[in-house]
Structure formats: structure tokens, C-alpha cells
Amino acid sequence: MDEPLLRIVDVWKSYEDLQVLKGVSFELAERDVKVIFGPSGSGKSTLLRCINMLNPPDSGEIYLRGDNITAPNVDLNAIRTRIGMVFQHFNLFAHLKAIDNVSIGLRRVKGLEKQEARRKALEALNRVRLAEWADHYPAQLSGGQQQRVGIARALAMEPDVILFDEPTSALDPELIGEVLQAMLDIAKAGTTMVVVTHEMGFARAVASEMIFLDDGVVIERGTPEHFSVSPKSKRVKRFLNQLDVLYGSHEKLLKLSEEEEGK
């Protein structure tokens, strides 16, 4: 059997007294889009931060294309170039223009020439439809545009997998659509992604598998259809109901922006 792109084996993580992750395992094949959801405080962000070793797990292993990245002597910086990350609060570099935000990794880490880095960065910005905003500072961009720059920043490094941590939850409702659209586009283009989100519309459109995390444990996993038709656990059902009440569904938003594109 082929080695999966990302294999997470029995990951545990605690902050001081608080046990946050209690043995999480899953696998991710090439071109997979995995959606992780669950109530607040269930450990979703922690899981992502374990995967790119910003907070190394207490125990358990993580394999990226067969390399154990939790082993003691691994070069974490080299690993992180292979794992992209998109943050809930964007975390764009405030002192750099959009284009420089995207190219800084290419130049400082991959050591590309200035022109080459700029060309690649523009390409990435193009994929999130922001090429004409390249020379603006983050403070001059809307939240949705900032998050798309964040996505381009991760894309430009051409990582094996991109992690998204609630990329739309800090955005005003009318800006969510454009970010989801950008994510849809790159997912359809074959990018492997792990997405923490409560946007069920997005999940139904592209997720190959969904994972429901609660209190640091995987409660239930399955296809989007599985969760929309017949979730087994009561907690999942209750949670999905609450989501519908709170957020509604953004499927309409997605369609809207597709129509706009068509014009």
C-alpha cells in the first residue's frame, strides 16, 4: 500500500493541566481535502498547530510523505516549508506589501532571486484574484482580501499540504464568500488541504472526508453526505443543528460568486 501524504498517529497534547488532544489519528492522501469541525475548545487549532510543529505534540507521530516529523532531530524549518498554514486572524506581515508578504518566504527560505520570487508571488496572487492589489499594505485591504493574501502566501511556497484554521470565522458575512471561493478554486486544482471550518456548504462541495472532533477525540468521521443525511452520534446531530441556526449555510454565497464570475 502506498504511504499516504500525511499520517497522524495517536497524537496527544496538553497545556499545563489541560489535556487538549487525547489520541487523534487520521490519514490524508494526495489531493484530499479533509474538513475538521467541532465545538469551540475541542482542540482543532491545537491539532493544526501540532501538525506543523508550532506546538509539538506530547506524544504520537506525524508522518509527511513517510518522514517522521516528530522525530527529535528533524529540521523543523524545512518541514514547515512543506506545510502551509492559513490563520484565523490572517497574521499578514504588517510592514510588507501584499506581494512582499507572498514572496518573503520564497526569498528568505527558498533563496529565489528577487525577480523570480516576484513572478511566482504574482502568480499566487493571481490564483486568489488579487494581482492588482499587489502593491497595497495589509492595512489597506479588506478582511477578505487579507485572508486571500494569506492563502496566496501559503500557496506560493508550493507546500505538500495547506492547513486552514477557521479562515473565515473572523470575517464579516459579506466577505466570507470570496475567501471560500478562493479555497474552492485551489481545492479543485488539486491542492491537498486540512480545513478547520464550520462552513458546511464548502465541506459538501469539496471535502473528501469530514472529522468531528470533540473534547480532543475524534467522535465520528465520514463523507459530507454521511453527515448531512445520517450522522450517528447525538452530539454531532445537536452540533449540526446549532450550526444551522447560528450560521445558516453559505452555499448561496458560493453560488452567488460563481454567477458573478460568469458575467
Binding site: 524545512a78 514547515r80 516549508t81 506545510i83 498554514m85 504588517a94 518573503i104 518566504g105 528568505r108 502566501r153
Partner: protein
């Protein structure tokens, strides 16, 4: 008192020593420049150590900063000045002198000898501790998210600090730091305590004893300091405006 004496006469008498005031001013600015620069380098180093240094290094940096900020400059100066003597280390220094003439007056200026060296060193060590605190504040205010984002791109910790955190921190620190920078010149008068450094205050003392017009002399020196400090302030403000970036 001033109103009884002939003000003009006093002014002229004191200003007759303009060459001394001028060379004193130059030496003051010379010491200020070095103290600011060395203090900044030390401060930056201390601030980075304090924020990112881990328990031991940040403890050492914190200890240094607190001690320098908690003890008087005068005591620090005396302590450093007499230290070689106590430890039996020779304290001879290179002496650098320069001289030039303007308006037919020969002005000779000692730029470095042991007292001047001690003055610059003390001021740098002290100012470094204060500058470190400003820098630390601005580094902390940049926030952990920026560092994490840089690291998530695969940048090393050092490179993240250098290319992402510091450029923002240095811009943010300018307003608060300007205060320290602009007011540092007035602390150079401190070297008066060890004597023999012919900076502005020394010259004022000299002129005062020659002319017997202390009030006029010190007021003129005060005005010189006020003008200097205001100009530095304005200059830094200008630089801040020029380097401003939206949202920072």
C-alpha cells in the same frame, strides 16, 4: 538681580567666550552620538534577549536592565571611573585630538581620553537599559502571530525575528524612543562629576568663574540645550513620518 545689572554687558561678556561654548557643544554632541548609537545596539540586543532568550538569558537581561535603571547614573559613573584603579588595570587611553579654526579663533578639541571614554561608556550602558525597555515594549506589541506566520513559512526563528518582527518593532518604537533619544544630550553634563571633560557644562562653569555672571551663563547654556533637544525631536518626528507605513 538680573534687572539691576546691565544685561547687555553680561551677555556680551559671556558670549565673548563663544569659542568655548562652541567647542563644548561639539564635544557634548560627540558624546551624545556615541552614547545613543552604542546604547541602541546594546538595547536592541538586551530587548531581543529578554523577549526571546529563554529563562536564563532573559533573566540575565532583565537583571542588567533593572540594576541599571534602579541605581543612580552618578554612582555608575564613579564606579566605572575608579574600577581600573581598584583592579589594578592601567587606565591609559588613546588620546585623539583635533583642531581647526573659525573666525580666526583656534579651536582645539579633545575627542577621546580616559574621562571621555568613561563618560561615553557609562552613558551607553545606562541608556542601553532604558532603550531596551522601549524596544521590548514594541517587540511584544508586534505579537506572537507574526512570528508564527513567519515560522509556518519555514523561516528560522532568527530569520523570522530579523525580517518580520524587527522591521515592525523598529517602526513602532520610534515615537517612544524619540523621547529617550532627544533627551539624552542633557545627561552628558554628568561627566562634570569626574572632571576634565571639556563639554558644554564644563565650559559654562569655566566662563562663570571668569565672568562672575553665573545666571547669564547658565541661561545661555540652557537655551543651547533646549534648541538642540527640540531640533532632535523635530528631526526624529520627520523621520518617523517619512518611514510611516499604513497600519503601523
Amino acid at each position: 538681580m538680573i534687572f539691576q545689572a546691565n544685561l547687555i554687558e553680561e551677555l556680551l561678556a559671556v558670549l565673548g567666550y563663544w569659542d568655548r561654548l562652541f567647542s563644548g557643544f561639539l564635544l557634548t554632541m560627540w558624546m551624545y552620538g556615541w552614547a545613543l548609537l552604542l546604547g541602541f545596539i546594546l538595547g536592541l540586543f538586551l530587548a531581543i534577549l529578554r523577549v526571546y532568550g529563554g529563562t536564563i538569558f532573559s533573566g540575565v537581561a532583565t537583571g542588567y536592565i533593572e540594576i541599571m535603571r534602579g541605581t543612580p547614573l552618578v554612582a555608575q559613573l564613579f564606579f566605572i571611573f575608579f574600577l581600573p584603579n581598584t583592579l589594578n588595570i592601567p587606565s591609559e587611553m588613546w588620546v585623539i585630538e583635533t583642531s581647526f579654526s573659525i573666525f580666526n579663533k583656534e579651536i582645539s578639541l579633545k575627542l577621546l581620553d580616559y574621562p571621555i571614554f568613561v563618560g561615553i561608556l557609562t552613558l551607553s550602558l545606562n541608556s542601553g537599559a532604558y532603550q531596551a525597555e522601549y524596544l521590548r515594549g514594541s517587540i511584544v506589541s508586534v505579537g506572537a502571530g507574526q512570528l508564527e506566520a513567519a515560522q509556518s513559512l519555514g523561516m528560522s526563528r532568527l530569520s523570522s525575528i530579523r525580517h518580520v518582527v524587527l522591521p515592525q518593532a523598529l517602526r513602532r518604537v520610534i515615537p517612544a524612543w524619540s523621547n529617550e533619544a532627544a533627551y539624552l544630550p542633557k545627561y552628558t553634563v554628568l561627566v562634570y562629576f569626574i572632571g576634565g571633560v571639556e563639554e558644554l557644562f564644563f565650559q559654562a562653569d569655566f566662563i562663570q568663574h571668569k565672568t562672575f555672571f553665573p545666571l547669564t551663563t547658565y541661561i545661555i547654556v540652557s537655551i543651547m540645550f533646549l534648541i538642540t533637544i527640540t531640533s532632535i525631536s523635530k528631526l526624529l518626528e520627520f523621520i518617523h513620518k517619512r518611514t510611516a507605513i499604513p497600519g503601523l
